[in-house]
């Protein structure tokens, strides 16, 4: 333990001043310091994300859980195989419909790797290895999707090789959403969980998709549970992402 002394006070004042100056410079230089720090710490962050994925995902699993996962993956491969066979036909149909509706054909989705552990940030953000140098096409505000098509977040900051993604269900984030034809406001609670309140008479069930119009009606999660609120006038809806964030490794970026 160390005692407080006038020297400590001076050190504290000097440190506070230096920290304030760095934050001010960062705010007024279009996050230049932020981007430099992200670049410096990227290898550490990436290593930590791999360690977290291994410890939370692969090794701490029982035999039965692994067998179950194996079975799910087999089914998923079969499903993907079917989908991939149907892809050329669907692509042709999409092109034909787009021509009929005179819509511009959407560019191919960009894929990026998650470079920080998703649950590490206290702000509901994470980083991906995509930036102006590697993927010049995407913009701030573009959607970041999981392989299952759920909106994990939006691009919040774009660097040269690293970009920051703000999670769709990060604390304080609000979205106008539609659940089973019912309009609700979803508020993020962090850790891929959100909540909404809906009128009691509306039929909302567990597993219903939560679609967000501002994200082109893409889902931000599913209904995890529905329970009447204390007054009984409305129902509390818990929303969750049906995927493991700790093991999420690749995401795709699509225009908003």
């Amino acid at each position: 333990m160390t005692n407080w002394s006038p020297q400590n006070n001076t050190r504290l004042i000097v440190t506070l001043t230096v920290v304030s100056v760095i934050l001010t410079v960062n705010a007024f230089s279009n996050h230049l310091v932020s981007r430099a720090v992200q670049r410096i710490f990227e290898p550490l962050s990436y290593t930590a994300s791999i360690i977290a994925r291994l410890s939370f995902g692969d090794y701490v699993s029982s035999r039965s859980a692994l067998l179950e996962e194996n079975q799910t993956l087999r089914e998923r491969i079969a499903q993907l195989d079917q989908e991939s066979r149907a892809l050329p036909i669907l692509r042709e149909q999409y092109a034909s419909l787009s021509r009929q509706l005179r819509l511009p054909l959407r560019d191919r989705e960009l894929t990026a790797e998650v470079t920080s552990h998703i649950l590490a940030s206290p702000y509901g953000t994470f980083t991906i290895n995509a930036g102006t140098e590697t993927h010049p096409a995407f913009q701030i505000g573009d959607l970041v999707l999981s392989a299952e098509g759920f909106v994990v977040g939006t691009i919040a900051q774009k660097g040269a090789t690293i970009s920051t993604v703000r999670m769709a269900l990060s604390p304080g984030e609000k979205h106008a959403a539609v659940i089973n034809d019912t309009s609700v406001t979803v508020e993020g609670n962090g850790r891929a969980v959100g909540e909404a309140h809906a009128p009691r008479e509306m039929k909302i069930h567990e597993g219903d998709m939560v679609l967000v119009p501002e994200f082109r009606f893409r889902p931000i999660g599913i209904v995890g549970s529905v329970s009447p609120d204390d007054s009984g006038a409305s129902q509390d809806v818990l929303i969750r992402l049906p995927l493991s964030l700790t093991t999420l490794r690749y995401v795709s970026i699509v225009p908003r």
């Binding site: 333990m1 920290v19 760095i22 992200q38 590490a120």
Partner: protein, 79 residues
């Protein structure tokens, strides 16, 4: 030794879990002067806040300043 270990825990906490980070911060502030924590908090903010208030740095600064009288009393009593 313990001091360095705590700093290491907090350093790791930045990349793994905010809970780990804050446990380190509280323990460190109780037993040691917390000035260097501000730099760790600054790194957290520069890494993760895309725009907005650097809450981690502000909270750490307030914790250090707020616990100063308590710490002074604690150290006077036990030393």
């Amino acid at each position: 030794m313990i001091r360095n270990l705590l700093l290491l825990v907090m350093g790791g906490g930045i990349f793994l879990s905010p809970v780990l980070f804050w446990i380190g911060v509280f323990t460190y502030i109780i037993f040691f002067e917390g000035t260097e924590l501000l730099f760790i908090a600054l790194v957290v903010d520069l890494l993760y806040v895309p725009a907005g208030l650097p809450v981690t740095t502000l909270c750490t600064a307030l914790l250090i300043l707020g616990t100063k009288p308590l710490r002074k009393e604690f150290l006077t009593y036990y030393s």
